[in-house]
């Protein structure tokens, strides 16, 4: 065991894993964090806590993660390179580890242009791949990025994101290979709506044998409305929403949109489950965390190990 986390144990035991996502509040409200977390308890093996996603200031991922851990819910801390240099990242990771955090998702981070402080300065001292290597060296070599020794090292189960739908498509899998080489243990993909393209990507993943080196969790997200489906299709770079999905949401109409969104999500889970090399799903229902239990249950993923 590299970290001894629940997620690592479940994946290593060969169970189909379920992770979910929790967006911390734009306030100091601990209640919001606890309420969302309690909803997910027993339905997700570990819960990602976003790090100021879309560059909007929110409660710190590590702080919220530590709150989850105190209630027996395992957090996956997200760490981006946007707001911290290598000094701050390593410092925060020592702190996170000391607080009992065992899973870490390494991200480059959304550009601040999309957030609520577009005039801020960004850091990007490291990129996600360099971050992964740094965390792996902290764990396995007991070394800081500068080469100095760490007396008591952090033990993280190291994850990364990868987007099978952005471009250049033929390079995406090679980039995943770079992340594997840098030291990841698991991957959570961008939201899958285009299962066909995802299958093709997985085929390339298998050709390189990457599915045998790391655990791959397919990202899924329930749609709330036809408008949301269209917006994602047309306005979110790196998001691939096929016409037939938009059509299903449109046909469902306003009243049944959420229900259909959940149905689509379950259908996608059923399909990706059958793809060789997919070790689990990562359900991203930001600001709709309460729907996760229904999805997990209807997808036949209960009880959790």
């Amino acid at each position: 065991m590299k970290s001894g986390s629940n997620l690592e144990k479940i994946l290593c035991a060969g169970h189909f894993a379920v992770t979910a996502e929790l967006g911390p509040p734009k306030s100091v409200s601990a209640e919001v964090v606890y309420k969302k977390a309690e909803t997910l308890k027993g339905y997700a093996d570990a819960v990602n806590i976003t790090d100021c996603q879309t560059a909007i200031v929110r409660m710190s991922s590590i702080a919220a993660g530590s709150m989850l851990a105190s209630r027996g819910i395992e957090p996956i801390i997200q760490m981006t390179c946007r707001d911290r240099n290598r000094i701050a990242i390593q410092s925060d990771l020592l702190g996170a580890s000391a607080l009992g955090v065992k899973n870490l998702l390494c991200l480059t981070g959304d550009h601040q242009k999309f957030g609520n402080h577009p005039q801020s300065k960004n850091v990007f001292d490291l990129d996600s791949i360099q971050l992964i290597k740094m965390v792996k060296d902290m764990r396995d070599e007991k070394k800081f990025q500068c080469g100095e020794e760490i007396k008591v090292e952090p033990h993280f189960f190291i994850g990364a994101a990868e987007n099978p739908f952005s471009e250049p498509f033929e390079f995406r899998v090679l980039r995943l290979a770079k992340k594997v080489k840098a030291g990841i243990d698991f991957v959570q993909t961008q939201v899958v709506y285009n299962v066909e393209k995802f299958s093709k990507w997985m085929e390339m993943v298998r050709e390189l044998g990457l599915h045998e080196k790391v655990f791959i969790l397919a990202g899924v997200a329930p749609l709330k409305s036809a408008g949301m489906a269209k917006y994602m299709k047309n306005n979110v770079p790196g998001m691939d929403v096929p016409d037939k999905i938009v059509e299903r949401m449109t046909v469902a109409g306003k009243e049944k949109a959420k229900e259909e969104g959940v149905n689509i999500c379950i259908d996608i889970i059923d399909q990706v489950k059958e793809i060789k090399g997919v070790a689990g799903v990562h359900i991203m229902a930001i600001e709709w965390e309460e729907i996760v239990p229904e999805i997990v249950e209807k997808a036949g993923l209960l009880p959790r190990p």
Binding site: F124, D127, K181
Partner: protein
């Protein structure tokens, strides 16, 4: 070259509001080529300021001159008489020119009329874009001759990120994704294998992060 853009008129008028006689100093090199602060722009700005001030019934006297370069002692020395005859200088050079005047004429007030924007090239008539971040540690040999430090919005050394679509950057659909350009170029050169190598964390100390920079060449000193 250094690319600049003239500041908005109102900002310039506000800076010189209290002065009755100023000197507008252009620069005949980079900012002349990017049409922000050369001879022609000096005379246009001068006329515009005079018109604005006449309208307010606060006429202003303006002297003008554009040295070949505002960033070298020998060229700015030519401006001495005009500078000393005025209350303030409005420099249409880049930030380097402004500071050259400040250092050479310590008692004179110098205002910037141009925003120094980036190091780049004119892509076509009327379009300039950034090419170099002056990081002091060039990586172009590893990235197919395309700079990810300033041309990738996140300065990724191991790109592209997940926001690359249709060859464009997620931050601005008008901007090319630098990593798509790098990928295409290395593909053309038959060197895609280069991209499987992980580029390690960059030593930023040679850039601005290391503090103000200076080069001293003993072999060149007099």
């Amino acid at each position: 070259m250094i690319v600049g853009e003239r500041k908005p008129m109102q900002e310039i008028l506000d800076m010189i509001a209290d002065h009755k006689k100023i000197f507008i100093a252009g620069c005949g090199t980079c900012v002349a080529v990017c049409m922000a602060g050369g001879d022609k722009e000096v005379s246009i700005l001068s006329s515009a300021i005079k018109m604005a001030r006449n309208k307010e019934n606060k006429p202003i006297e303006i002297l003008e001159q554009t040295p070949l370069r505002q960033c070298e002692w020998e060229f700015v020395d030519e401006l001495k008489d005009k500078i000393e005859a005025c209350e303030a200088v409005l420099s249409m050079a880049c930030g380097i020119g402004v500071q050259t005047l400040v250092e050479r004429f310590p008692k004179v007030i110098v205002y910037p009329a141009v925003n120094t924007t980036f190091l780049g090239l004119p892509e076509e008539q009327g379009v300039w874009s950034e090419r170099c971040g002056a990081c002091g540690n060039c990586v172009l040999d590893k990235t197919g001759g395309i700079c990810p430090i300033v041309r990738c919005s996140k300065s990724l050394l191991n790109g592209p990120c997940g926001g690359s679509q249709d060859g464009k950057c997620e931050v601005d659909p008008e901007v090319d994704c630098a990593w798509q350009l790098i990928y295409d170029r290395l593909k053309t050169l038959g060197k895609l294998d280069d991209l499987t190598e992980i580029l390690p964390p960059k030593d930023w100390s040679t850039g601005r992060d290391g503090g103000p920079r200076k080069i001293v060449r003993e072999d060149m000193k007099l």
